[in-house]
Symmetry: C2
Subunit: 210 residues, 2 copies
């Protein structure tokens, strides 16, 4: 049986998919409470009731969005993992940062939504991010910091979180930070990669040598 989300992903031109795309972007910019169903409907160019017809309600739509971005991110991480397989650690980090950063700059709503879920509370909260720890564990393994996905040491988990978050920060805070350093977009993206490598590569390669 196909869920509404699978149906939407199958045909990107369908109304379901168009709504989902706009919802991703707007929920990412304004968060759950900062977004109104009317804002999304207007962005799609439809009536609110059409939105409700396809996705049930605001909360249902939001949860679909979260599942959707998690799916996309997981897909990308698998891709990155393949690209770096077998390389030495410093190169793995270098390439991972390049690929992930490029991808997220093209889909900033992913970083936006993830940070919103980390740092903000929703007045009625269910937890639909049980997949995130799995991401972190996957990354830990693919970076050679853990043997298997189960039983990743807390220290390792924290290091992986630090790397993931620092990337999301620069993507999601682009508006704020770019204005702060007063550079154009292309330059900002280059600066982000440079800074991430400056910060993270010494830490992990040093501990590797020990």
């Amino acid at each position: 049986m196909t869920t509404p989300l699978e149906k939407a992903r199958k045909d990107p031109e369908s109304m379901k998919a168009r709504i989902l795309d706009c919802a991703r972007r707007i929920f990412g910019q304004y968060g759950f409470h900062g977004t109104t169903t009317r804002m999304i409907a207007q962005a799609v160019g439809i009536d609110i009731s059409t939105l409700h017809y396809h996705w049930g309600g605001k909360k249902d739509l939001y949860e679909s969005v979260v599942v959707d971005i998690n799916k996309d991110l997981r897909q990308k991480l698998i891709e990155v993992e393949k690209a770096i397989h077998g390389l030495p650690l410093s190169e793995r980090l270098d390439i991972s940062i390049d690929l992930t950063t490029d991808y997220l700059f093209e889909h900033p709503e992913i970083s936006n939504l993830i940070l919103f879920r980390y740092f903000g509370k929703t007045r009625s909260n269910g937890n639909i991010d049980s997949i995130i720890p799995e991401f972190a564990a996957d990354i830990a393994r693919s970076m050679g910091l853990a043997q298997d996905k189960k039983n990743v040491a807390p220290e390792t988990m924290m290091k992986v979180l630090a790397v993931m978050n620092s990337i999301h920060n620069f993507i999601s805070g682009e508006g704020f930070f770019q204005d702060m350093v007063k550079v154009e977009r292309e330059r900002y993206i280059a600066l982000v990669k440079e800074t991430l490598k400056f910060i993270h590569i010494p830490a992990f390669t040093q501990s590797d040598a020990k």
Copy 2:
């Protein structure tokens, strides 16, 4: 002339101050749109109209909160700067991380609010964080990465942002991350410090040696 905010800070028992305290906490947890004036009033134990009497309106109160936390953070940064003055870089980092982390874990709403302002949009946005770039420049100077507060290189600014953000991340994401690594609060705080030092000290000391 004294602003309402100065008046509130003078007498911590005053109604103005009590409202401001609760507002800090709740705006920090739920963000601007996720917070209702009724939530704040209930937390203080007063009527909504009393809140309006003292602070004008939701937006005014929110802006006062932002100014207030920026003031607190600035104060703390000056304090930290004094404590590390003259020490070698790796020790400056070590101590800065300890002091700042301890302080922010005691006042998590500071990290919460700052991240909300970085990553989220408010439907009607004015920018009242013109002070943040100044923080970054201050830190850059006090870490010996820049000569004067004016003309801090973009590369340097980005590095400082990376450090600041990584701290805020672990404070503000405590609920999420602590659950992820499955440890108690004290252990989590220790892990945060350890991880921050692991990540940042090699980067800056290595480039220092070059």
